[in-house]
Symmetry: C2
DNA sequence: GGATCAAATGGAACCGGTTCCATTTAGCGA
DNA sequence: TCGCTAAATGGAACCGGTTCCATTTGATCC
């Protein structure tokens, strides 16, 4: 029942509303004696200033909207944790939006800036369309992309092409020449990393003089079970790969489970490399490409805060490196020398 | 630059502000012709109603505050995913608060209802103090606890004592009589599950006529590495346990890593059982106690929404069951029969 | 002692919606 | 055609803060 207002406080303290407001905002131009009187009145009335009223009169929301797709995806969660670690110690509240369905994407992305309930927007692993970007500009809302790209927007990126190259190169260096790639759908317009890693994969193959074999590339919905199925498909090939590069660690886990089903040994029968270095990859000793997931969230949040403080002329870009982490799922291939 | 207001729209459409407001809120008492005029004006001015103003005049925030401790804890994340799955399709926004430090707990819990920026509050794995609860009542803010208990508040609970009993009973049934328990600090006032599971552990021992041996119980900060260390301590005992019950799967992973360091085999040399059934437990084939993590979040969010719609007279309680999931880290103990 | 100026304070106007009451308009029956 | 009621509409007041301008207070200096 916090219906006490600033005017009640003013009356109780025997001062004007402006003075109470000044006390609330630590304005220096209030005498110590008055400040005390007001503080006493606030305490005795159990007064709680209305955030809504403050927001309306100041024209600021003191909130940041964070939009994530598939909140169940572990790498998205890890990035979000980085975002949260920064925002939870900032003066901004974090409003979380989860977009599970593609058809909700457009609606959500359009409605968030419109309702202007946030002073800034952070999109994680989500590529906005040109129309969305236009909306952001119209609403004049500072926006940062994490793990997604748009030329007009500030972004924190991971060098996915380099990562795809590193992964494939690692397998090639181990003597593998038949290397499968299991990934999400390449033609998803909102998922550019899947294409970038594929580019790196093909470049590594080309450099090593290995022809790209389309039948070695399988694509499907992202997920452990789908990857498991695709692995079975790959291994049913007349000339199956000796190593598999999985687009994500989650998918690498699916690959490994498929092999377990077939009583095949990893890495002796087949080498597997993942991507992301999520926690489970460490537990399962999966060789993978580490990308700074948590850090990308941190950097994204920091970038957003700095942009909100001082808007840059041109979109900023932060590029994070990838790194090979060698564990137990990849091994030298015993070529028929 | 969304400085167009409802008055601009009214002028443009040649109607009163009240009528525009009615159109915005789909009031039935507007003629179709007028509605069209207003819609046209809204579209041509690119008008965006201010959420802040609406909130102030309506006295509702249309937001729900969700507070989690240690957002990096996988079981907390899983619960949160359940919460998000419900709220993201509701008409409420989700404001996320993460409390990493204990000293921020009090401040956060007190300030959230105070700033009344949420119509409802959901605390995950976080026990509020009596003083906090008083604040909630004072602010008249509907509150639900998930995985935490307070007599005056609505809650969604897991039967931790039963789970602790099940875990210990399972080990006893396998022939183990020297059973260690690795846990968080028992005296943490805000962590009641740790005590409940301990109670179940002791009850199972007592029923089997096994004396509780204090040296078999180790407690420390929650975490994989801490559990790893405690395992080393336990195994350095003159008469070490043959099985270990870990308070959480995360800690069970630490136990297993310690054993790997000692070149001991799980489960042949030592049986290990965890708690929670997080995803990694499945990958690592860890025997554990399943609790409905995701579902607890779903139930909590649903309960909160229903309470906000119709406040119950007495605090509601939902109790979720636990279930033994047998995998590869526990095995029959070869007793000296 | 009086003039000057800075500090402290009061309070109306404002932020942009919603709501409710007063007023106008339309529809219908006699 | 008049009267009555219901539907549609206009707009002031309000939500509870902030801000800015006008005013009061008090100290300083000549």
């Amino acid at each position: 029942m916090s219906k006490t207002t600033i005017r009640d406080v003013a009356k109780r303290a025997g001062v004007g509303v402006g003075t109470v407001s000044r006390v609330l905002n630590n304005s220096p131009s209030v005498s110590e004696a008055t400040r005390q009187k007001v503080q006493t009145a606030i305490a005795s009335l159990n007064f709680i200033p209305s955030q809504a009223a403050r927001r309306l009169s100041q024209g600021k929301t003191m909130a940041i909207g964070v939009v994530v797709p598939f909140f169940t995806n572990p790498s998205v969660v890890r990035r979000l944790q980085g975002v949260v670690s920064v925002l939870s110690v900032s003066e901004y509240d974090l409003i979380l939006f989860d977009i599970e369905k593609v058809d909700r994407r457009d609606m959500a992305l359009r409605s968030i800036p419109q309702r202007n309930l946030a002073d800034g927007l952070l999109l994680v692993s989500l590529t906005p369309s040109d129309m969305d970007v236009e909306q952001f500009a119209l609403a004049d809302i500072p926006t940062v992309l994490v793990d997604a790209y748009h030329p007009a927007l500030n972004r924190v990126l991971v060098d996915n092409a380099a990562g795809g190259y590193q992964a494939t190169k690692h397998l090639i260096d181990l003597g593998h020449r038949q290397i499968g790639y299991i990934s999400d759908y390449l033609n998803d317009p909102f998922n550019s990393p899947v294409r970038d890693r594929f580019t790196g994969y093909k470049r590594a193959l080309a450099e090593a003089g290995i022809d790209f074999r389309p039948e070695y590339h399988r694509q499907g919905e992202h997920g452990r079970f789908q990857a498991q199925q695709m692995t079975h498909d790959l291994l049913a090939l007349p000339d199956p790969p000796t190593a598999i590069f999985a687009y994500s660690d989650t998918q690498a886990i699916g690959v490994i489970e498929a092999l377990r089903e077939l009583s095949l040994s990893v890495p002796d029968d087949l080498s597997v490399i993942g991507f992301d270095n999520i926690e489970a990859a460490e537990y399962l000793r999966i060789t993978t490409i580490r990308q700074a997931l948590f850090d990308s969230g941190v950097k994204g949040a920091e970038l957003l805060l700095s942009i909100m403080a001082a808007p840059p002329q041109t979109p900023q870009e932060i590029l994070l490196p990838t790194e090979l982490v060698t564990r137990r799922t990849t091994i030298q291939h015993n070529n028929a020398f």
